[in-house]
């Protein structure tokens, strides 16, 4: 399995944290990014960045996202 190592802040060999947020939103009756952002307490741009693997959220936000979708953290985020 590939492991991700960030050489600098901008350059990562492979994305380290992946997520299932787009799929979970779709399964939650097509929840909008704005609705998820409001529920979690971040901006819509942050949700977009998380979905595109451009931003790794803090533990607090990660737990809140899992809470919104009523699933465990591992079902939303994976380190691979």
């Amino acid at each position: 399995m590939w492991r991700a190592y960030c050489i600098t802040d901008w350059v990562c060999v492979v994305a380290s944290i992946t997520n299932q947020v787009p799929r979970l939103r779709f399964e939650a009756n097509g929840m909008s990014q704005q609705a998820l952002a409001n529920a979690v307490g971040v901006t819509r741009q942050t949700i977009i960045a998380i979905e595109k693997n451009k931003y790794s959220p803090s533990l607090e936000v990660a737990f809140k996202i899992a809470q919104v979708f009523e699933c465990s953290l591992e079902q939303v985020f994976a380190y691979e």
């Binding site: 901008w10 990562c12 901006t43 741009q45």
Partner: protein
């Protein structure tokens, strides 16, 4: 709020065209240069990105172009006319006033769109990470300036005037601010996974 690529291309191209016409008809000026630069960057952003975040990236783009144009013009005058202290000072004051006006207009535009929102954890992390780059540039610049002064003493070269020294120090501050702005823009575009 986000501006999509078509809007960016139209707005950017319109800015470039209008300012190009003004430049040709009325001659060279900071305002036209500013408009040209801003239009060019917005147009380029439209080709590069699918959408631009109006809340965060737009004021940064405006600041980038404003700093480059306004202070670029000021430093060009200062280093080509090192003896014209009064002219330099008056241009310094006008550059500061111009920057304040541009920043106020840019932030008012964002506020008028109801796009202003509290900074969340990503914004704060990007701000911190970008500040580190600005700090590195600032410290490096100050050390280079100190080294330059020491070398002039050691090798008995003519010392810089206090006016030029102050402007060199100010130039380092401006470059550090530019590094900060560019880093923030790049973090918003390319993403931030650590820091």
């Amino acid at each position: 709020m986000v501006a999509n690529k078509n809007l960016l291309r139209w707005v950017g191209a319109s800015f470039v065209l209008v300012n190009l016409v003004m430049l040709v008809v009325w001659g060279w000026g900071t305002l036209f240069l500013l408009g040209l630069g801003f239009g060019g960057v917005v147009c380029a952003a439209g080709w590069w990105a699918d959408e631009i975040d109006f809340t965060n990236e737009f004021p940064l783009l405006v600041s980038l172009i404003a700093v480059l144009t306004v202070f670029g013009r000021y430093f060009y005058f200062v280093f080509t006319n090192p003896d014209d202290l009064i002219g330099g000072l008056s241009r310094f004051v006008s550059a500061i006033i111009f920057m304040i006006v541009i920043e106020v207009v840019a932030h008012s535009l964002v506020a008028a769109q109801n796009a202003a929102a509290d900074a969340d954890e990503r914004d704060k992390r990007i701000e911190r990470a970008a500040s580190r780059w600005g700090y590195i540039v600032l410290v490096a610049g100050v050390w280079v300036l100190i080294g330059q002064l020491v070398s002039r003493v050691v090798f008995e070269q003519a010392m810089l005037s206090s006016y030029l020294l102050a402007n060199l120090l100010f130039l380092i501050f401006v470059i550090a601010e530019l590094a900060n702005i560019v880093a923030r823009l790049l973090y918003y575009r390319l993403g931030l996974r650590r820091g």
